[in-house]
């Protein structure tokens, strides 16, 4: 039902777009007709360029998500071992969490230059803090009875974290990952638009910027469509499926 509703709005929106584009009141450089946008999308996909840039962006964000999530888990584990470490991590997270990655850009350029490493840094920054906060909250919310059952069975150390604490706090970890993804994806696109290409490839953000420079408005919109599609794919398909296959299947959603 929800889906049908959404698609009605979607069709309405596209029709309105086409209406405006065809009204002749706007230059196609401002408001390209849908046909031009989809043609540009088709050509960009067919030439492989858009796919390559998309691949570049996706690879970067996966790397960043992985590193950020692992770091968050490690820091979360460390901070649940000692109150001193916990207060340290909490202070660090409180300082760094509110900082948008893009605001760090000038500093990052000074430290790391403008290469891939800098974008990766921004992604990790976007992922790490929301993940860490959720890891810490999640670990604290692990039912005592589960933790003690695990310990009673002789599960200890890293194994206790990975086999009891991590699955037991999975609702929090997935929620953290959702926030992290959304933040990282936005940061990535913005950073790419600013950093430009290194070695010919610069990701989706860079692709948009390039279309802007060459004044290909339809091409710009075609990249926006790809960004929207990836957003929908990840948030509505991938996360949904992962949740359905884990916490919802396990009845852990109403913790």
């Amino acid at each position: 039902m929800m889906r049908i509703h959404k698609s009605i709005w979607f069709v309405l929106f596209l029709s309105l777009w086409e209406l405006l584009a065809r009204s002749g009141r706007f230059s196609p450089l401002v408001f390209p007709p849908l046909a031009a946008v989809f043609k540009a999308l088709f050509h960009a996909l067919a030439s492989g360029e858009l796919l390559q840039e998309t691949g570049f962006s996706i690879l970067l964000i996966l790397e960043g998500l992985l590193v950020g999530a692992v770091l968050a888990l490690l820091l979360g584990m460390a901070s649940s071992l000692s109150p001193l470490l916990r207060s340290f991590t909490e202070a660090l997270a409180a300082l760094a969490h509110p900082l948008p990655g893009i605001a760090l850009l000038p500093v990052i350029i000074l430290w790391l230059g403008t290469g891939r490493a800098s974008i990766l840094f921004i992604i990790i920054h976007s992922v790490l803090w929301p993940m860490l906060l959720n890891v810490m909250t999640g670990f604290r919310a692990v039912p005592k009875v589960l933790a003690e059952t695990g310990r009673n069975f002789g599960v200890r150390g890293a194994r206790l974290f990975l086999e009891v604490y991590v699955p037991a706090s999975l609702p929090y970890l997935l929620a953290g990952l959702r926030i992290a993804w959304a933040r990282a994806w936005r940061a990535l696109i913005s950073a790419e638009m600013i950093f430009g290409a290194v070695g010919g490839k610069g990701g989706l953000g860079w692709y948009i910027f390039k279309q802007r420079v060459f004044m290909d408005t339809a091409g710009m919109f075609s990249a926006l469509i790809v960004i929207i599609l990836i957003g929908i794919l990840v948030e509505e398909v991938i996360f949904e499926r992962v949740e359905a296959a884990t916490i919802r299947k396990w009845g852990m959603t109403d913790q």
Partner: protein
């Protein structure tokens, strides 16, 4: 509930159509206001003179002049498309890209010629051939005059205009300079004054290629471009605009010391340094436009634009001097 929703939709559509009705902003130049966009650099020096001597106000009494300094050509182009800017200053390649895409604009005048050059921090690089796979070259933007010049040189010297494309890094001039001087990320920078001189003044830096070598001749570095709306609707304002630019250029060429004093203030540079720049052989201020043809030919040949202008008046307004008719 349903009824309410429909009403809302109707309202939105009505609102958007009304909004569409009043075309992008009140186009200016109607005697009351003229908006001009420029970028930063010594190549734009005559515009400082226009500002300081209030030449536009003199030639077009009663006009409010609005100056905008924008970060890159794409922003200027978008502002002109939106009707927020009447006249913009830029290099020929970005102008041609816009023209090719249907921007309603033409060149009104030349503004400057300027030395541009590819500076490297690696001693062993003496020509384009010496760049290895690991080298990174900074240019302000793809499609910028620096990028096109580099491609032209690559075509001449290496037989492939895209030879170095995968080694380009996009950096604005100031960031490009600091990256080059710190020896990080990039090994070469294609730039213009004042960055060009500042970089060459540092130890260990040298020029591999200059603009004239790349182009195979002289060319206009920065030109003045106005929208068709501005040109057509208020010929008086248009003429006053072109005249003001001409007067500013004449002023610089006839009063170098005085001009240097005014400009030193505007650019926060020592007066002597500025004067030496004005006297440089490669730097010249002139309304004559040069080099459109070779740029257009090259760009069309390599897919940056889809066509070359058939007649000159497709891309320049009636009274522009061009050296290659």
């Amino acid at each position: 509930m349903k009824r309410g929703l429909l009403k809302l939709i109707a309202l939105i559509i009505a609102a958007s159509l009304t909004a569409a009705g009043c075309t992008p902003k009140e186009t200016s130049g109607s005697g009351s206001r003229i908006a001009i966009a420029e970028q930063y650099g010594l190549a734009y020096a005559p515009l400082q003179i226009v500002k300081e001597l209030k030449l536009l106000e003199k030639n077009l009494p009663g006009t409010v002049v609005e100056w905008k300094q924008l970060g890159n050509t794409a922003a200027i182009r978008e502002a002109m498309l939106a009707g927020e800017v009447d006249a913009g200053f830029m290099a020929i390649p970005p102008f041609l890209i816009g023209w090719d895409k249907g921007m309603p604009w033409k060149i009104a005048c030349g503004l400057s010629k300027s030395p541009v050059g590819l500076v490297t921090n690696r001693e062993e690089i003496r020509s384009l051939r010496d760049f290895g796979d690991k080298d990174r070259i900074a240019v302000p933007q793809p499609g910028s005059v620096q990028h096109i010049l580099l491609s032209m040189a690559c075509e001449k010297e290496l037989g492939d205009p895209h030879k170095l494309d995968n080694q380009l890094v996009t950096l604005a001039h100031p960031e490009g300079m600091s990256a080059l001087l710190s020896g990080r990320d990039i090994t070469a920078h294609f730039t213009a004054p004042p960055y060009l001189m500042k970089e060459l003044a540092e130890p260990g830096m040298h020029e591999v290629l200059n603009g004239r070598q790349a182009m195979g001749g002289d060319f206009t570095f920065i030109a003045g471009v106005t929208t068709a709306a501005f040109h057509d609707k208020d010929p008086r304002a248009y003429k006053a605009f072109v005249r003001s630019i001409q007067e500013a250029i004449d002023y610089i060429n006839n009063n170098r010391e005085k001009a240097a004093a005014i400009l030193a203030e505007a650019y926060k540079m020592p007066e002597a340094e500025l004067l030496s720049y004005l006297l440089m052989e490669d730097a010249a201020y002139t309304t004559v436009v040069e080099g459109i043809e070779p740029f257009a030919q090259f760009m069309e040949r390599n897919g940056y634009i889809s066509k070359v202008p058939g007649e000159l008046n497709e891309i320049v307004w009636e009274d522009v001097h061009d050296e290659n008719p």
